[in-house]
């Protein structure tokens, strides 16, 4: 066969064709490999660019947009008289004895006995109901935590009775929030510009323990006027009694522990609020002395002097929610607010109200209203200028509501009445809020897309929140979980146990 010239040709052709085929195959493999790497690089690059753009858009979204339409007020709006806050009334035997009509309103709330006297209960608030060691959240263990969370010196029988608990009810000029300016430095520190001053104040606030620091102009609309000191049954004037004319209000937000608040309503959630009040006093007190040290007048405030939620909104820290709390992005209502009034002028560095679509979301989500054990929160779809709760139409019933400003109004009397009934600060509306989330990326993702989601999706998101395992209240398992959150605290390798969430499932 090999001698046959034609066979030789055929063989040569066969060999040649095999070689050509192998070359083509190699080229094909090279081409495929090259194409693979090219597509991998282009696809991966495009994905990285897309991911980067999405991250940038999300970051911009959580910054919020300026809310030009806040606040909406009508002709009935005027600054609120502090004497009419529910807490002033609840804590003042004098006010209660003077106005029996209001006490009758309280008695009607839940068929109270004839001798029911709110301030008497409030004087011993958190000590009225015996411990129940068979009921998680209300045992001696929980009660000890509740009582310890307030500063040790914060009790009703302290010097002059003007202590932290009184400050919590809005009494002005208590030791933590003193009006005294005697430690003001004689030399006024001069900043290069207002931005340097604002940055310094925010940095100091962060160091002192603030979660967020905003700066608002002093705004008479949100200041209690007149101020009321229930320990003296005396109304005080901003012009005559306050030690200086404030120009600015530094608004600071104190975080509250996620797992503690998740136990609401219980003595543990009350402890979470209590330690929040203690931290408010430390923070506002420190900032007051910082401003004094710079040579400027300053007075710290907890619940006193002004409406904290409104100032929180004015300082761009959050939006008003259905539960009448300030809802802060990333935390929801799980914060406490303190303020420092000062005569320092921040010029063009004042913050402005912002929106993240939170109030809009509240229109569809009614989880806090559903969870409220005293039915104090409105189920209305839209905010309004006047309260629209069950007994809002009764003459003289709305004395504790700030009318004329568009918001979701609550029946604070029902709310505080439940506090007294359970000997706790409740907190169910905070624990159940859809915006009350631990600090993890997926919750920030929801926060970022919220302003762009339609109303229909808001309703779905609100329903999915409990379905995903968040926001339950009156849940004894949450109490058990809380009492295990200390595990691993020697190392705390997740750094998540402080104010965020534990790593305990």
């Amino acid at each position: 066969m090999t001698n046959d010239p034609s066979n030789i040709n055929q063989d040569q052709e066969g060999v040649e064709s095999t070689i050509v085929s192998e070359k083509q195959s190699d080229q094909g493999t090279d081409l495929s490999r090259r194409t693979f790497f090219k597509r991998f690089a282009v696809g991966g690059g495009a994905a990285l660019l897309g991911g980067g753009a999405t991250y940038a858009a999300g970051s911009a979204s959580v910054e919020g947009r300026i809310a030009k339409d806040y606040p909406e007020t009508n002709e009935d709006f005027k600054p609120f008289r502090q004497k009419n806050t529910t807490l002033s009334y609840a804590a003042s035997p004098v006010l209660a004895a003077r106005d029996n009509t209001r006490m009758e309103q309280f008695k009607k709330l839940h068929d109270k006995p004839a001798d029911y006297f709110w301030p008497k209960l409030f004087q011993h608030f958190e000590h009225n109901v015996p411990y129940d060691n068979s009921r998680p959240g209300f045992t001696q263990l929980d009660g000890a935590l509740q009582h310890a969370s307030w500063m040790p010196w914060a009790n009703w029988s302290g010097p002059k009775g003007k202590m932290l608990l009184f400050g919590g009810t809005g009494v002005p000029n208590t030791p933590p929030y003193t009006w005294d300016q005697s430690d003001k430095h004689e030399n006024k520190h001069q900043f290069t510009d207002a931005k340097e001053a604002a940055d310094a104040v925010r940095s100091a606030g962060r160091l002192f323990g603030a979660l967020r620091v905003g700066i608002a102009r002093n705004d008479k609309r949100w200041n209690y006027d007149p101020i009321y000191d229930l320990t003296q049954d005396k109304e005080l004037s901003w012009e005559k009694d306050f030690p200086f004319k404030p120009k600015s209000v530094i608004v600071m937000v104190v975080p509250m522990d996620y797992d503690g608040m998740a136990t609401a309503p219980s003595r543990v959630s009350a402890a979470t609020a209590g330690i929040g009040y203690t931290q408010m006093a430390v923070l506002a007190g420190a900032m007051k002395h910082f401003m004094n040290g710079l040579g400027y007048n300053a007075v710290g405030a907890g619940n006193d002097l002004a409406i904290s939620g409104a100032y929180g909104i004015m300082a761009g820290l959050g939006e008003g929610g259905r539960n009448n709390c300030l809802l802060v992005p990333g935390y929801g209502p799980r914060v406490r607010i303190c303020k420092v009034f000062t005569d320092f002028d921040f010029e063009d560095e004042y913050d402005q109200p912002h929106t993240w679509g939170i109030t809009e979301f509240c229109k569809s989500c009614k989880k806090c209203a559903d969870a409220c054990p005293s039915q104090a929160i409105s189920h209305s779809t839209e905010p309004s200028f006047y309260p629209d709760h069950e007994r809002a139409k009764e003459p003289g019933y709305n004395w504790s509501n700030h009318i004329g400003v568009k918001k979701f109004h609550t029946d604070a009397k029902r709310c505080v009445d439940y506090w007294l009934e359970t000997d706790s600060d409740c907190g169910a509306c905070i624990a159940s809020c859809t915006f009350n989330e631990p600090d993890f990326w997926h919750h920030w993702f929801i926060m970022a897309i919220n302003p762009f989601t339609p109303k229909l999706i808001h309703g779905l998101m609100a329903e999915l929140h409990p379905a995903f395992g968040y926001g339950s209240t009156q849940n004894p398992e949450k109490v058990k979980k809380f009492w295990r959150t200390g595990e691993g605290m020697r190392v705390n390798k997740h750094n998540k146990s402080t104010f965020g969430t534990s790593n305990i499932s």
Binding site: A47, F440, N503
Partner: protein, 95 residues
Amino acid sequence: MELAQWFCFGILFTLMSAGLAYLSIKVKLSWWVWGALIISCLLILFGLAWAGASFLEGVAQSGAIALICFSGPGILAISWIWKRYIRPQAANLSS
């Protein structure tokens, strides 16, 4: 732990990109099938990332539902695409 989670998902994302690039030279698919395939892969990763964060924060229920709601549809869609469009070209995958 969160950083470790992001590192793991970086690896998973790279593997996903490489897998899709490999598939692109082996099979021919119309543009909308590619779109569905990519979205399905991203859904699976999103569900896994959500579940990881939920387990880290101690809310296992959230992680489980995320796997059902996000990763589940992604897996179903990929299975359908595989059966309907990729398996008929299976001979190309091993060549």
